[in-house]
Amino acid sequence: MKRTIALLLLSAVVVTTALVVAADARAPRAVGECYDNWESCRTEALSRDASVIQTTLMLTICDIALGRCILYG
């Protein structure tokens, strides 16, 4: 019984570690891409020569897209 529980616990630890490491390995690239896209979005918004409020709205949309990208990929 003890051996089974120990094995189960060890498996849980290994699986959790693997998942966390995999997630960590993916996260910086994904978040980096989100920020790259956000940078392009901002450049696009600022280059449009739109009025101030319109530019602000475009930048806000870029910001919302960044948040969604970070949260949901």
């Binding site: 920020y35 956000w38 940078e39 392009s40 901002r42 450049t43 600022l46 280059s47 449009r48 020569d49 739109a50 009025s51 101030v52 409020i53 319109q54 530019t55 602000t56 930048l59 806000t60 910001d63 960044l66």
Partner: protein
């Protein structure tokens, strides 16, 4: 009237007076007024003087450059506005651009910043890319400095302790100095707006940084990066404030120092933002000419609303709201 009420009334009167004095669109002194007139009528039908999305206009060493971000090209004209050459074009090749953000003509070629490809390219006058260097960020603007140095402006998205707006490199892209920490308030949209700059080069290799969306708009730097302080414009110069309710109890406010700017022979040419029909601020039709002491020397009325301007010793160049290049001569009214 009780003493308390009298004091409150007295204080509020002073507060109101203060507000009035500090208002951004305060009455203007009687500055001399000039009128700018088109001298190149054939531009009305010349496709080479029309752009899809002009993002930068600059005059230097007898040449004018206009950057079109949509077409990913830089058009070069002589001082009279005669077309010379168009460089770039969208692509990933050495002589191609993806999203040019600024360009300056010079004796040593045409210097271009490419936002998406994160690089600075120097073209010769035949449109061949002579040299380029890569950057770790998307360049917002550039300014060539003496000694083949290049100043690159960055609008940092997520500012950290090391990010700076001004970044100076030698011609091979080796960093020389970095200055001017960006505005950081936690509001990314407001920060992005606050950190939008126009780079202008003055005489004696001085650098002027014009903040489009800050009330105190001009900062002065030496060529080696020393901060020489702020230039305050004379009272009456129209820094305009746009205000909009963006949600319940939430208001957006922004000061607009100018819509675009140029610098020539010790004078700033500041294109003031103008009100749109929706009470927003956009391109303007008045250029305020000011010295480096901040004193306004005159106002030039343009023949319509313009989005970009550049000044040469004799003429004024502008891109209008139909994205057409205009060559203007200034005459006193």
């Amino acid at each position: 009237m009780s003493t308390k009420r009298f004091v409150a009334l007295f204080a509020s009167w002073f507060w109101l007076l203060g507000q009035g004095l500090g208002a951004h669109d305060s009455p203007q002194p009687s500055w001399p007024r000039y009128r700018a007139l088109d001298i190149k009528k054939d531009f009305a039908t010349d496709e080479r003087a029309m752009f899809a999305r002009p993002v930068h206009l600059a005059f230097m060493d007898g040449r004018l450059t206009a950057v079109d971000a949509e077409e990913a090209t830089v058009s070069v004209f002589d001082a009279q506005g005669n077309f010379i050459v168009k460089v770039g074009g969208r692509g990933q090749g050495p002589a191609e651009l993806d999203f040019p953000t600024a360009a300056w003509p010079g004796a040593d070629g045409i210097l271009v910043s490419d936002g998406r490809r994160r690089r600075v390219v120097r073209f010769d006058e035949r449109g061949q890319a002579r040299e380029a260097f890569r950057l770790a960020f998307a360049p917002e603007s550039i300014l060539p400095l003496a000694g083949d140095r290049v100043l690159v402006a960055r609008n940092p998205g997520v500012p950290d302790k090391t990010s700076t707006i001004l970044n100076c490199y030698d011609r091979w892209g080796r960093p020389l100095w970095a200055r001017l920490p960006p505005a950081v308030s936690g509001d990314r949209v407001a920060d992005t707006m606050s950190n939008v700059v126009i780079l202008l080069g003055g005489s004696d290799d001085e650098i002027f940084v014009v903040f489009r969306y800050r009330a105190a708009g001009i900062r002065r730097f030496a060529a080696d990066g020393r901060d020489l302080g702020e230039i305050r414009l004379e009272r009456g110069y129209p820094v305009r404030r746009v205000k909009k309710t963006v949600g319940p109890g939430s208001t957006f406010e922004a000061d607009v120092f100018c819509w675009h700017a140029s610098f020539r022979a010790g004078r700033f040419y500041l294109l003031a933002a103008d009100w749109t029909d929706e009470r927003d601020l956009g391109p303007g039709s008045e250029v305020y000419v000011a010295g480096t002491d901040g004193q306004v020397q005159g106002v030039i009325e343009l023949p319509g609303k313009m989005t970009k301007i550049a000044a040469s010793p004799d003429l004024l160049y502008a891109i209008d709201t139909d994205y057409r290049l205009r060559v203007l001569e200034v005459e006193k009214e």
